[in-house]
């Protein structure tokens, strides 16, 4: 039922060079449009304009960030590439974890849609990242979600929290993917710009890696999964004006609508396709839909592609060719199949009741040609669409206000340490996140070895050997606000430390860089500094960035969010049975503090509770982090520790509280020796956020060996207490005693009080 539109064909474009096109409304700049005309040697057709406008958008082309992101590649050494099977540029990076197994993982943002329509925005964020994982040839095995909201008591926050949490749960739970971690942060900087980042991880055998390319002349191109609808069309009202048909609906929702059932079926169906080896190349449809999939598949292949667009199965027959090319309808995939495998492909589609349509074939013309009822509406070099977009060296400079902010160091203390610990542990950022995480399935697939609230999520990959992976995501927008270079390094340091704390060896990094407008030179400086910091830190720690995502324009009314580079670190275990939980359980075990505590309260959670944001963030020493990680991983492997918890936001006070609450087992702690050794007062000992620290519980029989190892590695260690199962309290001797019941009530009451 190909409805006949008044189609703007290539022939028509050649015949009517003077016809005005709505390129500005579609988001292109004058110089960008001129470049399109120069590339084509004529004005673009409406369909071509649609493709270039979405593919050259900031989101798809990384035109503002590209010049900086190059550092992630430039600063990768050969040693860092050792475990890298697929690096940046594909749908997701792939890391070798041994025994022929590989893992693919990536974090992406879905910030703007989640503010407009929290449930669907968050849900389709999960859906999109999961399809990236599938298209690498992997079975998705877990998700994580770093979330950032405005102030907890702002009138709009409950709407976003309820919608976003339910959306992530509603989609992820229905896919059968355990949710094993993430973050929940409240800060007024995210008012009007919540950050919804979603990470997915998948598992595959080395030989199963799939890449997005269309090779082999004569191979057929197929679109399968959900039908294409009018949802998620960028610049919707603009597109409506491009239409030549007055009868069609003029308004379209800009947010995609998810169907997790369709995606679950798509996962199983794709895995069956891979197992049967019937696809040559595969690409998920996300941002820019068919425009992206056809141009990327064709430009990554060795020839061209021919597509008949009327073959696309539609939910709404009134869609124009431009809209079909730009639609971001969810749960769709595009594959390249040899003619010989076409029947086998169709049989698998039929088994899973998945709709498909053969759109065209791979050609040797080097051109992407798209026809509508036999008339050519697109005839382009696919590389010019997918890869040769504009690149900008945006101006940037260090903000003048930063000197004043950095000079404003936090000066504060609290005489009542007991009350301070209770206040901290019930605060929005440090309180228990159970109310959120209990809405996610952490059990499905039966391979979850650790999940919230432990330091990292841990998933078994191989049932026979116990081989598995650990994942953690971290970011601290306040640190990055005070110093974006150091903030990015701190984010990596914490995620790296968390993975090591669980007992896994850190291997690789993914990042989701959330910033304000790149057209603001001060924001651009924050971005440039963050990328430089992260790339340098990755090099120093020897872990490569394998992929990720940039989200810009996170700002409302000229005020940008805190720079928030979310960093995910993946680590590997030979056997997940050796993982270390964050809480202690055995009576009499010794509690040690690793690392040095300095007076570093600037940017801390405590300062945040006092409404202060100034000074300089904690110093990060990556050589020390590396040693600490080695100590933690070796102690875990050799059975020297039974619990480990990293010190980060909230410092020692938070770490001790969380370790005690994990299994409801108390401890007797002494901090006076620590104060003396490090030259600090008790308040600083408890609330400073100095880096490179962790607490561990050591069985009596292992104390000598543990101390010897720390001494040999020259890492500062101090015995600060002992696990006490008799007294159900956190007893900081000489200072205060906190019954765990009271601490637990304070810790767990906050989110239900605001949202239940």
């Amino acid at each position: 039922m190909s409805k006949k539109f008044n189609i703007d064909t290539v022939a028509n474009a050649e015949a009517t060079p003077g016809q005005a096109l709505p390129w500005a409304e579609l988001g292109l700049k004058q110089n960008e449009y001129d470049r399109v005309v120069e590339i084509l040697g004529r004005r673009p057709t409406g369909a071509e304009l649609a493709m270039y406008s979405v593919m050259w958008s900031e989101h798809c082309s990384y035109k503002s960030s590209k010049v900086h992101l190059r550092q992630f590649g430039d600063k990768v050494t050969d040693a860092m590439k050792e475990h890298l099977l697929v690096g940046i540029g594909e749908n997701a990076g792939v890391v070798d974890i041994g025994d022929g197994w590989a893992v693919t993982f990536k974090v992406e943002s879905h910030n703007h849609p989640s503010f407009v329509e929290p449930y669907q925005g968050a849900a389709t964020g999960v859906g999109g990242i999961v399809r990236d994982i599938i298209s690498m040839g992997a079975r998705p095995v877990a998700v994580m979600d770093p979330l950032r909201f405005g102030a907890i008591d702002h009138p709009d926050t409950a709407r976003l929290v309820h919608g976003i949490v339910a959306g992530i749960g509603g989609y992820g739970n229905s896919l059968g993917l355990p949710n094993i971690g993430g973050e929940v942060v409240f800060d007024s900087s995210y008012q009007g710009n919540p950050l919804v980042n979603a990470l997915a991880v998948g598992v595959l055998r080395h030989e199963d890696i799939r890449l997005a390319n269309a090779s082999g002349v004569g191979n057929r191109v197929v679109l399968f999964g959900a039908r294409t609808g009018g949802d998620g069309i960028g610049g919707a009202s603009v597109l409506a004006s491009e239409s030549f048909d007055d009868a069609k609906p003029s308004k379209r929702p800009a947010v995609q609508v998810g169907d997790p059932f369709a995606e679950k079926v798509l996962i199983e169906c794709c895995l069956e396709l891979f197992k049967a080896s019937v696809v040559e190349g595969i690409q998920d449809l996300g941002a820019a839909g068919i425009s992206c999939a056809t141009s990327e598949l064709a430009s990554n292949g060795d020839g061209g592609m021919h597509v008949e667009l009327t073959k696309v199965l539609l939910r709404d027959p009134t869609l124009t060719p431009g809209e079909i090319l730009m639609s971001e309808s969810q749960e769709r995939m595009m594959a390249v199949v040899t003619p010989a495998n076409a029947a086998a492909f169709e049989a698998i589609m039929d088994k899973w009741n998945v709709e498909y349509s053969w759109l065209g074939e791979v050609t040797d013309t080097g051109r992407l040609v798209i026809e509508w009822d036999g008339e050519t509406i697109v005839d382009v070099d696919p590389r010019t669409v997918a890869h040769d977009g504009p690149v900008y060296e945006r101006p940037y400079h260090r903000p003048a206000w930063l000197d004043g902010v950095q000079a404003d160091s936090f000066q504060g203390s609290s005489p009542d340490l007991r009350a301070a610990v209770l206040e901290l542990m019930s605060s929005p950022n440090m309180c228990s996140k159970d109310w959120v995480t209990n809405q996610f399935d952490r059990y499905v697939q039966g391979n979850t070895a650790l999940a919230m609230p432990d330091d990292a999520g841990v998933i078994r990959v191989d049932e026979a050997t116990g081989l598995g992976v650990a994942l953690s995501t971290d970011a601290n927008g306040r640190y990055s606000y005070l110093n974006p270079y150091e903030g990015a390094r701190l984010a990596l340091a914490e995620a790296y430390r968390n993975v090591a704390t669980s007992g896994a060896k850190p291997l690789a990094v993914t990042d989701c860089l959330n910033f304000g407008s790149p057209e603001d030179p001060e924001v651009m400086w924050q971005f440039a500094e963050s990328v430089r910091g992260l790339a340098d830190a990755c090099q120093e720690l020897g872990v490569p960035v394998t992929g990720g995502n940039v989200s810009l324009y996170n700002q409302t009314g000229g005020v940008a969010i805190h720079p928030t580079p979310v960093v995910g670190v993946l680590g590997v275990f030979d056997d997940v049975a050796r993982r270390t939980p964050s809480g202690w359980r055995e009576d009499g075990q010794a509690i040690y503090l690793l690392g040095t505590t300095r007076d570093e309260l600037d940017g801390s959670e405590w300062a945040n509770l006092r409404g202060h944001l100034g000074g300089t963030p904690p110093v990060v020493d990556l050589a020390a982090e590396k040693t600490l990680a080695a100590v933690l991983v070796n102690s875990s492997r050799d059975g020297m520790i039974d619990a480990a918890h990293d010190l980060s936001e909230g410092g020692l006070a938070a770490a001790l509280s969380e370790a005690a609450l994990r299994f409801g087992v108390g401890a007797r702690i002494g901090i006076d020796e620590l104060c003396e050794r490090d030259g600090i007062d008790p308040f600083t000992a408890l609330f400073s956020e100095s880096q490179g620290r962790a607490i561990v519980s050591v069985p009596r029989s292992e104390e000598v060996r543990f101390n010897d190892m720390c001494t040999a590695r020259n890492y500062p260690t101090l015995r600060i207490g002992v696990v006490d199962t008799e007294n159900s309290a956190l007893d900081v001797q000489g200072h205060f005693t906190l019954p765990l019941d009271e601490l637990k009530e304070a810790h767990e009451g906050t989110l239900p009080r605001h949202f239940a």
């Binding site: 040839g137 992997a138 079975r139 095995v141 339910a166 749960g169 509603g170 739970n173 229905s174 896919l175 059968g176 998948g202 598992v203 595959l204 055998r205 199963d208 169907d259 997790p260 059932f261 369709a262 679950k264 079926v265 199983e268 895995l271 069956e272 891979f274 197992k275 088994k351 899973w352 009741n353 995480t437 209990n438 809405q439 996610f440 399935d441 952490r442 059990y443 499905v444 697939q445 039966g446 391979n447 979850t448 070895a449 650790l450 078994r460 990959v461 191989d462 049932e463 026979a464 997940v576 049975a577 993982r579 939980p581 299994f663 239940a756």
Partner: protein, 262 residues
């Protein structure tokens, strides 16, 4: 057409945990609908209990000679209409319904979560599930009491014994009219009851029930997630366990295997 589900990233051959070789001869079918999620977990539970797990496809017309059937959890057909409402019409469900109601020696059937919902839609079990009273999806470790240890699926427990297994669902609130509830209580067909806290508003704290013959059992919590040390709940009703060491759910699977061998 009967095709095993794809295996990437899962399903390594796993040795049977049981020394009793005869149990391995028991074939337990696990049904996969489009949207089923816990099928591989249920198959793992059968293997860990010592039996042989057989994958069954919803569109098939035969039960492949299995001795018992598990309908696992998930969101069959997305559960957009009403949980289990479409699945009950699957070709395989006709086979299961016929075999489960065949009098003495009828097929043992266990429905877990979405499987329980499917069994009520298929009228193999009474009552129905509505949205949790919290209106949220809820995932937590849940304490249950085994009220009836005489069914094919609970004979490895003692009556009144408590167990801890994960609960995870959105539509878990069991409801039925008063007469049905009285009937279930009177006939000893309440098999599992929530203890300490009713997590979802279920009538009379009911977590699981059986049919009159005792061969069909449905429950909302997930015993298949409490079968393997290291990957279960952090606690057990039987005393201290290691990290994620709870395996209180394994008895459900060993019960039916032993009964079928016996």
């Amino acid at each position: 057409m009967s095709v095993e589900t794809p295996l990437i990233g899962d399903f390594q051959p796993f040795p049977s945990a049981s020394a009793e070789g005869s149990l391995a001869g028991v074939r337990v079918g696990v049904v996969t609908f489009p949207g089923t999620l816990d099928d591989r977990d249920a198959m793992r539970a059968v293997r860990l209990a010592g039996g042989t797990a057989i994958s069954l496809w919803h569109g098939d017309h035969d039960l492949r000679g299995v001795d018992a059937v598990i309908i696992p959890g998930g969101f069959s057909y997305g559960d957009y209409l009403r949980a289990g409402a479409i699945s009950r019409f699957a070709p395989l469900m006709e086979q299961i319904t016929a075999a489960a109601t065949g009098g003495p020696g009828a097929l043992p059937v266990l429905g877990i979560c979405n499987g329980f919902q499917v069994l009520t839609e298929a009228h193999l079990l009474p009552g129905s599930m509505i949205k949790n009273n919290s209106l949220h999806f809820l995932c937590r470790d849940q304490r249950l009491r085994v009220e009836n240890a005489d069914t094919l699926w609970t004979s490895d427990y003692a009556a009144g014994e408590e167990i801890v297994v994960p609960l995870k669902n959105q539509d878990g609130q069991f409801v039925a009219d008063e007469r049905t509830l009285d009937e279930l209580e009177g006939e000893g067909r309440v098999v599992f009851r929530y203890v300490r806290e009713n997590p979802n508003g279920s009538r009379r704290d009911i977590a699981g029930i059986s049919n009159a013959a005792g061969n069909v059992v449905g429950l909302m919590p997930h015993p298949e997630h409490a079968v393997e040390p290291g990957f279960g709940p952090d606690s057990s009703a039987r005393g201290e366990v290691d990290l994620r060491g709870g395996t209180d759910g394994l008895g459900i699977f060993t019960s039916v295997l032993k009964k079928l061998v016996g």
